[in-house]
Symmetry: C2
Subunit: 118 residues, 2 copies
DNA sequence: TTGACGCATGCCCATATAGGAATATGATGA
DNA sequence: TCATCATATTCCTATATGGGCATGCGTCAA
C-alpha cells in the first residue's frame, strides 16, 4: 500500500505547507482563487488542486460570484487535529497546570450558576 | 515533484494514523518495540519504520536497555502543530472569547504582581 | 455570437511512501 | 564461540501524489 490519500482526513490535507498557507490566508476572509494565486506565487492550476483537497476534507467552502469562486475557511474541520494535539500540550507547557486550575474554576462557576445559559 | 517526505516535518509525520497511535501509546510511558508490535497488531519491521520516522522528526527518543530499545514520547515536537491549529480554535469554540478574557485577566495579575516569578 | 476572463480538469513525470518478506545487526546467555 | 532474542535495514511493488502544461467550461462584455 502507498501513503494515504491527502483527502483521507484533515491531518493528511494540512500536511502540505501550501495548504496550510491557503488556510492562513483564508482566515483573513473570503477570497477568489486569483487572489490566492498571486499571494502564494503558485500557478493557478496548482492552487485549484490544493483548494479541491481542502474542499474534500471540508476545510474550505466555495461560493460562486459571477465568474469568480469565493473560497471561505471552515475551521471546524481542524477540530480533530486540535483535539488530538491538545492532549500533548502538558508535555511542554509549564503553565498548563495553572491553566488547568483556571478551567476547573470556570467549570465550578458554571455549575453553581445553574442552567442559565445556552 | 512528489509529496513531501514524512520526515520533512512533524505535520507529515503524524499524518499517518499508525504513527499517531504509537504516540498515543507512548504517552502512557516508555515502551519497547515489541510492546508496540503487539498493541498495534502490525509487523515488527513496519513498527520499526514508523518509529524511525518519529525519531527523525524528534517526536520520540530511544534508550537502549539490554537487547531492547525503549521508546519514549517527546511531545515538544508536536508544539508547532498545536501552535498552528490553536489559532483556528475560535472558529468552533463558542467559549473562546470567555477563555480569552480569563487569560487577559491572568496577564493583568501577573503584570501587577511585579517581577516576582521566574 | 464572439472573445476574454476566471477556474477546474486531464495528462505526464519524478518521487516518496507503507507494507510484505528476507536479512543484517547487537546484545545476552550457555 | 554459538544459538537466540529484539530490532533495524534492505529490496520490491502498488499507489498517490504535486508541479508543469494544455484544455475544457461557465460567465460576462461588446
Amino acid at each position: 500500500m502507498a501513503r494515504a490519500a491527502t483527502t483521507a482526513d484533515t491531518f493528511n490535507a494540512v500536511a502540505e505547507p501550501r495548504r496550510r498557507q491557503i488556510l492562513d490566508l483564508l482566515a483573513g476572509g473570503e477570497r477568489p482563487v486569483n487572489d490566492l494565486v498571486h499571494l502564494l506565487g503558485l500557478a493557478q492550476p496548482q492552487v485549484s488542486k490544493h483548494l479541491r483537497v481542502l474542499r474534500e476534507v471540508g476545510a474550505v467552502q466555495v461560493r460562486g460570484d459571477g465568474r469568480q469562486r469565493l473560497y471561505r475557511l471552515n475551521g471546524h474541520a481542524l477540530k480533530p487535529i486540535h483535539d488530538w494535539v491538545k492532549n500533548y500540550e502538558r508535555t511542554w507547557s509549564e503553565r498548563f497546570d495553572r491553566l488547568d486550575a483556571v478551567l476547573d474554576e470556570l467549570k465550578q462557576e458554571e455549575d453553581d450558576d445553574g442552567g442559565g445559559h445556552e
